[in-house]
C-alpha cells in the first residue's frame, strides 16, 4: 500500500502541530518520522491512522482519499507507545479479538494467531493476562495483534521507548527483520536517531510541525539539509564553528579552509561549518586540514575515546581509538566531510 | 450530521430536567385557580408562601444545612482511612469486610431510627442536630467508604511508590500524593454525603420533635396518614423551598464540578 500525505495541517488551539506536511511512503517501505518531542510526528501518525482529522490537506492510500474516513474503516494497524494491550483479556484474546469481530472462521483465527505469536516468540504467554507480563512481552503482544489483521499499513508510535536499553537493541533488530520478511508498508515514529538510522529505508526529519528533510539514512547522515538535521543525527553530535566566506576559502579563526566553487554571492557572509567527530582524526589522513589544539577532556567509551579539544577557542570533539599521550594534539579534519550552512541554517553545496 | 444528534440529545436532557423544576416553581407563585385553568398561569401571588412561612420553614432550612455539613465532616474523618485501606492495601478478609460494611447498611432507616430514638432520649441527644448528624453519618459512611475505595483503587500504585522512593513517610504519601490525585473523586464523595443527609427524611422525622429538618417538616402530614395531605399550593411551595437551597448549592459547586470533569473529560 502506498501512502501519500499532501499538505496536511493540524492545529490544536493556537498551536500548529502539523504544518503543511507532505511526503510519500512506497509500498513495503519502512518509513521513519524522526524528531524531538513535540515536533508533530505522533500527531502526523495519528492523522494517518484516522484518529485525528487534519484541518487541511489530504491523506491518500494507493491514491484513494481517506482523509475523512474514520480509523476503524481504514485497513491500518497500530502499535501504541503504551502498547494499549487490553488489560482485562488474556493474551490470546487480545490478539484474536480483532479477527473475531471481522467474523473470521475459528480455524483461520487460530492459524493467524499461531503464526504471529511464533514469529514473536510469545506462544508460551497466550493464557496469561497483561498484568502478568513484562514490558517487553507486552510490547510483543501489541505487535502480534497488529500483525494478525494483515494490515496494509503498519503504524508504530515509539514502540521501543519503554523498553530498557539492552532489550531495545534486540527488539530493534527483530523488528527490522520482521518488516523485511513480511514486506508491510510501515510508518514508524521515534525521537531516537540511532533507532531511525538502523531501521529506516527512508527518514523524514521533523521539527516544530514541519518536515525538514526526507531521505535515506545515508543521505540524511552525509548530506543534512539543515543545521538542525546535521545536529540531530549522529552521535556524538556534529561539531559546529563559525566562519566568514572569502574568495575560495572560509576563514574560521583558527584556520583558513580552502574551498573551491563557493558561490560568489556568499563572499563576505557568515556561515557555519560542521564536521562530525568521526571525521576528525588524530592520525594523519590525506586531504585534510591540520589544526593544533589542547585536550581538555577525554571520555572513555571502552571501544573508543571521545576527545574534547580546544582549538583556538573553539571546542571540537574527535573520536580516537587510542588515548592521547600528551595534551597537545594535532587534529586532521577530513576535507571531504566538511558541511557548510548559510546564515538561515540551510545547506550550502559546493 | 453528528452534531445534530448531539444537540437533539442536549435539548431533550435539558427539557427533561428543567421542566418539572421550573414549572413547579412557577406554580408555587401562581394563583391557584388560574393555575388550574391555564397551562401558563397569568396571575401571581406570594400569599401561599406567606402562609407557609408562618408555619416555621426558615429555621428548618438552617438545621438541614448544619446537619449536612456535620455529616460530611464526620463521615470523611472516619471513612476515608477505611476507604484507603480497602482500596489500596491487600489483606485477608478484604471482601468479607466489604460485604460486612454493606450488610450493616441494609436496614431501612425507620427501624434503625426507632431504637436509636429511645437511646437518644436516654442520653439527651434526642431532638438535637448532633443526634441527627450522627445518624446521618452512620448512613453515609458505607457509601463514603465504597466510593473512596474505588477512587483509591484507580490511582496507580507507582505514583505512591515513587513518593516512598523519594523519602516520604506513609502519611506524607497519603496527604501529598494520594489525596490530591483523589481530590476530584473525593469531592464527589463529599457531595454524596451531604446530599444523603439533606435528602434524608425518615430518621430526621423520628429523631426530632421540635427541631425538625426541612424534609421532615414536609413529610409529616403524609406519614400520619390520610387527611393530612397538603393542599396543592402548599405542595408547590414546599417543593420549591426544598429544592431552592439545593439549586443554590449546585450552582455554587458548579465550578468545582467543571474542574473535576472539565480536566479529565475534555479529551
Amino acid at each position: 500500500m502506498r501512502v501519500d500525505l499532501e499538505n496536511v495541517t493540524k492545529r490544536f488551539g493556537n498551536v500548529v502541530a502539523v504544518d503543511k506536511v507532505s511526503f510519500s511512503v512506497e509500498h513495503g517501505e519502512l518509513f521513519v518520522l524522526l524528531g524531538p518531542s513535540g515536533c508533530g510526528k505522533t500527531t502526523t501518525l495519528r492523522i494517518i491512522a484516522g484518529l485525528e482529522t487534519p484541518d487541511s490537506g489530504r491523506v491518500l492510500f494507493n491514491g484513494r482519499d481517506v482523509t475523512h474516513i474514520p480509523a476503524r474503516r481504514r485497513n491500518v494497524a497500530m502499535v501504541f507507545q503504551s502498547y494499549a494491550v487490553w488489560p482485562h483479556m488474556k493474551v490470546f484474546d487480545n490478539i484474536a479479538l480483532p479477527l473475531k469481530i471481522k467474523k473470521l472462521p475459528r480455524e483461520e483465527i487460530e492459524r493467524r494467531v499461531k503464526f504471529a505469536t511464533e514469529i514473536l516468540n510469545i506462544t508460551h504467554l497466550l493464557e496469561r493476562y497483561p498484568f502478568q507480563l513484562s514490558g517487553g512481552e507486552r510490547q510483543r503482544v501489541a505487535v502480534a495483534r497488529a500483525l494478525v489483521v494483515e494490515p496494509e499499513v503498519l503504524l508504530m508510535d515509539e514502540p521501543l521507548s519503554n523498553l530498557d536499553a539492552l532489550l531495545r537493541v534486540q527488539a530493534r533488530a527483530e523488528l527490522k527483520k520482521l518488516q523485511r520478511d513480511l514486506k508491510i508498508t510501515t510508518i514508524y515514529v521515534t525521537h531516537d536517531q540511532v533507532e531511525a538510522m538502523v531501521l529506516a529505508d527512508r527518514i523524514a526529519v521533523m521539527n516544530r510541525g514541519k518536515i525538514i528533510q526526507v531521505g535515506t539514512p545515508d543521505e540524511i547522515y552525509n548530506k543534512p539539509a539543515s543545521k538542525f538535521v546535521a545536529h540531530f543525527i549522529g552521535s556524538p553530535p556534529m561539531n559546529f564553528f563559525e566562519g566568514i566566506v572569502e574568495e575560495d576559502a572560509i576563514n574560521v579563526g583558527f584556520a583558513k579552509i580552502p574551498f573551491k566553487n563557493i558561490s560568489n554571492k556568499l563572499v563576505g557572509k557568515r556561515v557555519v561549518v560542521g564536521i562530525r567527530p568521526s571525521d576528525i582524526s588524530v592520525i594523519p589522513i590525506a586531504n585534510s586540514v591540520q589544526v593544533k589544539g589542547t585536550t581538555i577532556l577525554v571520555e572513555n567509551l571502552g571501544s573508543e575515546y571521545i576527545l574534547h579539544i580546544d582549538v583556538g577557542g573553539v571546542i571540537l570533539r574527535a573520536i580516537s581509538k587510542t588515548k592521547p599521550t600528551s595534551s597537545e594534539v594535532i587534529l586532521y579534519l577530513d576535507k571531504s566531510k566538511l558541511h557548510v550552512f548559510s546564515e538561515d541554517e540551510t545547506r550550502v553545496d559546493f | 450530521m453528528r452534531k445534530i444528534w448531539i444537540y437533539i440529545v442536549v435539548v431533550f436532557i435539558s427539557l427533561w430536567i428543567l421542566v418539572p423544576i421550573v414549572y413547579t416553581i412557577i406554580a408555587s407563585f401562581a394563583d391557584i385557580r388560574d393555575y388550574y385553568t391555564s397551562l401558563i398561569p397569568r396571575k401571581y401571588t406570594l400569599k401561599y408562601y406567606e402562609e407557609y412561612w408562618r408555619l416555621g420553614v426558615g429555621s428548618a432550612l438552617l438545621r438541614s444545612i448544619q446537619v449536612g455539613l456535620l455529616t460530611i465532616t464526620l463521615s470523611f474523618l472516619i471513612g476515608i482511612p477505611a476507604g484507603y485501606s480497602i482500596g489500596r492495601l491487600k489483606f485477608r478478609g478484604r471482601d468479607v469486610i466489604k460485604v460486612t460494611i454493606l450488610f450493616f447498611r441494609v436496614l431501612p432507616i425507620v427501624i434503625m431510627a426507632v431504637p436509636l430514638a429511645v437511646l437518644f432520649i436516654k442520653i439527651g441527644l434526642y431532638d438535637t442536630l448532633i443526634g441527627v448528624a450522627l445518624t446521618h453519618t452512620a448512613i453515609a459512611l458505607p457509601f463514603v467508604v465504597l466510593i473512596t475505595s474505588s477512587i483509591f483503587i484507580s490511582i496507580p500504585r507507582e505514583l505512591e511508590e515513587a513518593g516512598v522512593v523519594f523519602g516520604l513517610s506513609s502519611l506524607q504519601v497519603f496527604t501529598k500524593i494520594t489525596l490530591p490525585l483523589a481530590a476530584p473523586g473525593l469531592s464527589a464523595a463529599a457531595m454524596f454525603a451531604f446530599l444523603i443527609s439533606w435528602n434524608e427524611v425518615v430518621a430526621a422525622t423520628i429523631l426530632s420533635y421540635l427541631n425538625r429538618t426541612l424534609p421532615a417538616m414536609v413529610l409529616t402530614p403524609y406519614v400520619m396518614g390520610t387527611g393530612g395531605e397538603l393542599p396543592d399550593p402548599y405542595k408547590f411551595a414546599a417543593a420549591t423551598i426544598m429544592i431552592a437551597p439545593a439549586l443554590v448549592f449546585m450552582a455554587y459547586i458548579r465550578k468545582y464540578l467543571t474542574a473535576m470533569w472539565g480536566a479529565a473529560g475534555v479529551r
Binding site: G50, R72, V76, A77, W86, P87, M89, P98, F131, V149 | I6, V10, I13, I17, P20, Y23, T24, L39, I78, A82, Y84, I86, L89, I97, T100, I101, F104, R105, V106, P108, I111, M112, A113, V114, P115, L116, F143, I151, W198, N199, V218, L219, Y222, V223, M224, G225, T226, K235, A238, A239, M242, I243, A246, L247, F249, M250, L257, T258, G262, G265
Partner: protein, 281 residues
C-alpha cells in the same frame, strides 16, 4: 526495637484504619438490628411469621419487585449511554452535564412533589396535551383505579431523580478508562457496540458494581414517591415498615418487614460482588 514496631504497624495498619468505621457502623446499625430482630421474633406468634403468612405479602412483594426491576436496569443503561454521550466535546457540554446531575440535590420527597405537578389531572402534562388537542379528557395517574399508571409515575419519578447517582459513579469510571484502549479498538475496526461489549463494559465493572450496590440499597428504602404519589394503595416493603410503626404503633410488625428487606438486600449485594469481579489493571 524500632524495626519490630514498624513491622507490627505495617501488618496491622489496614485493620487499624478500618476500625473506626467498623465500630461506628457496627454500633449504629448492629444495635438496632439486634433490637429489631428481637422485636421481629418475640412473642408466641412472631411478627416475622405473621408477615410471611399474611395475604398482603404477595401484593407488597409484587409492587416492590415491579418498581425495582423497572428502575434499576433502565437507570444503569441510561447512565452508561449518557456517560458515553458526555465524552463528546460540544459547546455547552459542562452546562448540560451540570443539569443532568442536578436531581442529585433533590430529595425523594421534593421529586415526588415535582412529578405530582407534572402528572396530576390538572398538572403540566395534561394541560399541555389538552391545549395541543391531543386528548380531550385528562389522563389520570393517581387514584385507586389507576394503580398501574401510578406505578409508571413512581418509576418515572425515580428515574428522573436517581439516575444521576448511578451516572456520577459510572461517568467517573468511564474517565478512568485509558483512552488508548478505545483508540486501539477503533484502529482494529470495532464498531460502537463492539467497543461497548469488549472494552468499555468489562473495564467499567468496578464502577458498575459500586453503582448497582448503591442503587439497589437505596431503591429498597424509598418511601417518598410511594407515599406521596401512591397513597394507600401502592405498597412496597419500605412503606409497610412506616405504616406499621407510625400508624399502627407496632414496632414488632415494622421490624419484621425490615428484617425481610434486610435479607433480600444482603443476598443481592453478595450476588453483585461475586458476579462482577473487577480485573486489576
Amino acid at each position: 526495637m524500632v524495626l519490630s514496631v514498624n513491622f507490627k504497624l505495617r501488618v496491622f495498619s489496614p485493620y487499624i484504619l478500618i476500625l473506626p468505621t467498623l465500630i461506628y457502623v457496627a454500633f449504629f446499625t448492629g444495635y438496632p438490628i439486634v433490637y429489631a430482630i428481637n422485636l421481629a421474633l418475640t412473642g408466641s406468634t412472631p411478627a416475622l411469621l405473621q408477615v410471611i403468612t399474611s395475604p398482603r405479602l404477595r401484593e407488597v412483594l409484587l409492587y416492590t419487585t415491579m418498581i425495582i426491576v423497572s428502575v434499576i436496569p433502565i437507570q444503569l443503561a441510561v447512565a452508561i449511554f449518557t456517560s458515553l454521550f458526555f465524552i463528546n466535546r460540544f459547546k455547552g457540554r459542562e452546562l448540560v452535564l451540570y443539569l443532568f446531575i442536578l436531581p442529585l440535590a433533590i430529595s425523594e420527597v421534593a421529586a415526588a412533589l415535582l412529578w405530582y405537578t407534572m402528572l396530576s389531572s390538572r398538572g403540566f402534562l395534561n394541560k399541555l396535551l389538552l391545549e395541543l388537542g391531543v386528548i380531550s379528557r385528562p389522563i389520570y395517574f393517581f387514584g385507586y383505579e389507576f394503580r398501574d399508571r401510578t406505578l409508571l409515575a413512581i418509576v418515572l419519578t425515580e428515574i428522573w431523580r436517581a439516575t444521576a447517582i448511578v451516572f456520577v459513579i459510572i461517568y467517573a469510571g468511564i474517565q478512568m478508562i485509558n483512552r488508548e484502549y478505545l483508540e486501539a479498538a477503533d484502529i482494529f475496526g470495532f464498531n460502537f457496540w463492539q467497543k461497548l461489549r469488549y472494552v468499555i463494559l468489562p473495564l467499567l465493572k468496578p464502577s458498575i458494581q459500586t453503582a448497582l450496590i448503591i442503587r439497589t440499597l437505596f431503591a429498597f428504602q424509598i418511601v417518598g414517591p410511594i407515599l406521596i404519589l401512591g397513597g394507600e394503595y401502592v405498597r412496597v416493603m419500605a412503606t409497610e415498615v412506616v405504616y406499621w410503626y407510625s400508624m399502627r404503633m407496632n414496632p414488632y410488625m415494622a421490624s419484621a418487614w425490615a428484617v425481610l428487606i434486610g435479607c433480600i438486600v444482603l443476598v443481592l449485594g453478595s450476588i453483585y460482588i461475586k458476579l462482577i469481579k473487577p480485573v486489576e489493571v
